[in-house]
Amino acid sequence: MSLSLQKSFEKELLDKSIKEVDLAQTLITLSDNSRIHFSYDEAWPGFSFLKGMGFDRIEFYTDDREKIEVWADRILQYQQDFLQDPDYLAVDDCHWNEKDYHSNQILISCHGLKSRKFAPQEIALDLPPMDAPLGVDPLAIAAFKNEIRNQKSEDTIHRIQNILVEFRAAKSDFDPLIWSNLVADLIAVSLENKLLSKASRLAEEHKTELKHAWDDTRRSIRLLSAYEPKVDELSEWANIFQSFNSEDIISFLSTHLSSKAGPQIVKLLNYRVQTEFESFIEICLHGNGAIQKLLLQWLSAYWKPQHYHLILAQLHRALKETNDLDMINYWVQALLRSYRSQALEDMRQFFSNKKWYQGFFKSKKNLELGPLEQRNFLKALSEHPSADILRFFAEIKQDVRGGLADEVERMIRSYQGNTRS
């Protein structure tokens, strides 16, 4: 039997068995028909619960203590379930009465359960005020208050991390976006609290989930602007953004350069280009004009002979399709960087007329440019003065006519003047 029931009614139950409990009148009738009053404060707690559920009377047809114990324990279990969540206890499905297992005879019966079709009062904000004297040890109150005040950021991060773990364990079918946002927030909070190593560890642990977080602009800006890495922290910091696709970072830069994350996006891109230049070269060679223009500035140091033909094709295309001198200039620079001697040779074809055998065998692509394109190219090339460029100007002088020839002449003189001075 539950301890409290035994304790409360020990005397009565041992001497005389209980016949009936009137929950409304707080009266117990014993087997000799004597009656005693009880108080809910001192009575077996199951009586409060049964009354709360709407019962007003309990009849006992047995004095078998084992049977009463089974019933009492079941009622207290219902009470615990109810306390955990008052909305979920299905009162109709609870076994409030106790029956004999063999004969099916009722041993304990509870009466007066209010009709389930109860018409509720209008729900109103009518709650009792809490103005009774507070009977709690002031030290306990102070300790509780301090617990709220002294929540450390580490505790908070630990709490979010814990929620994250539980969330994943409990809801594997959750929207991956929510999951990744939670991961991103946890990392951002860590960074905001200068816990770079923790943030980096978390990003490594959850790099797959984190992938979706970059779709959320607000969170991406938060993550990027949360921490300003020192030079020696750059690698660890950049590692957090490992799953942030390089192409997306580039387009993010173009749209959010003026945001508070702007300086860090530049820092991240700079780091990425240095460490992953091959992939950036790929992006540059196959990207649109805006991306190319941005990346060409960063990539100038990384062009190699193996990129040469692709750059030449891009330069040729740029000359044909745009008047953007900056863009042309960047491509010229890239071409010279990648394979200078070959570049100077091939660039001559922008000017010389097609040889008769080239047309015949079609072994080489015709690279010759129109006058405007030639002018743009020469302007770009003149930005990179050197002895071999001067030689180049001198060589192509014979292949250009009219105003353009004058311009080439001016460029040569200007270069010679510069070198003399």
Partner: protein, 278 residues
């Protein structure tokens, strides 16, 4: 901003609502979805903030606590309305959906706004308010981390309000009886300090209770004095629907009297009587 919601919140705590636009929107979604859940959230917030005041929390903490309580059931927006208001027993699937609401609250919070050091308090209460003090509730947790203090407050307020509110399928439990039943969760379901503070500041018979005295007279509990015992409040004795006497049970003249139990005012045609005096 919905003026009704603004008024409801301002009756509980004071804050600059412009700073809580996301939270306000979420609350208005709850109200649109289910009026009972909305009113329940308001009640839980009111009780939580009252309790927070008894703990002498600072104003910013009270605001945080208030919002934590107001949005603790946000995840119920994801529970189909026919399940939310179901009268009969839940099927296992329905129960699983109902019990997923703390996780859904968490998800909704994450959607609503980025988690920060400041918002984690609100988030914790939504996620933890059914986890029980001994962490044996739901959602089932693998890592045992003590409940956030706000979760412990909201959990007590949530249970009390659910028990003392009339539902279509269940008459409310009288407040004093609800407190007695709740005391059986002391240290297991509820934080003992929070529950003790809640019960003692409500009083054994909360203000507004209609009580039966040992001399069989009926009276409304009207308040507690500074030196009142939790079971000996001020009363207004009622006879034939009329208040006939005011009484302080701490007074020596009434030392022979005691409160037997509480009763429903509507069973004596006294509903609304107490409210009319306020």
């Amino acid at each position: 901003m919905n003026p009704r919601i603004v008024k409801d919140i301002q009756s509980i705590f004071v804050c600059n609502l412009n700073e809580f636009e996301n939270e306000l929107n979420a609350l208005s979604l709850i109200r649109k979805y289910d009026e009972y859940t909305y009113l329940h959230c308001l009640n839980v917030a009111r009780l939580s903030v009252m309790l927070g005041r008894r703990f002498e929390l600072d104003d910013p903490d009270l605001v945080d606590l208030g919002w934590a309580a107001l949005l603790h059931d946000l995840g119920k927006l994801h529970v189909p309305i026919h399940i939310l208001n179901k009268v009969k027993k839940f099927s296992p699937e329905e129960l699983a959906i109902m019990q997923s609401h703390p996780l859904e609250s968490l998800a909704a919070f994450v959607k609503l706004q980025p988690v920060t050091i400041d918002t984690i308090n609100r988030l914790s209460a939504a996620f933890e308010h059914h986890q029980r003090f001994d962490l044996k509730g739901y959602p089932v947790v693998q890592r045992k981390l003590n409940l956030h203090p706000f979760s412990r407050i909201v959990s007590v307020a949530d249970t009390f309000d659910a028990m003392t509110t009339d539902r279509i399928y269940q008459r409310r439990i009288l407040p004093d009886l609800a407190l007695r039943i709740m005391s059986q969760g002391f240290g297991t379901i509820f934080d003992p300090i929070v529950l003790q503070a809640f019960i003692t500041s409500m009083g054994a018979y909360p203000v507004g209770s209609l009580v039966r005295l040992s001399d069989q007279r009926l009276g409304f509990v009207t308040g507690y004095g500074k030196n009142s015992r939790v079971d000996r409040p001020y009363l207004r004795i009622m006879e034939n629907g009329i208040s006939v006497e005011e009484m302080d049970l701490m007074d020596d003249r009434h030392s022979g009297l005691r409160i037997m139990h509480s009763e429903f005012p509507e069973d004596h045609e006294l509903e609304g009587k107490f409210q009319s005096w306020k």
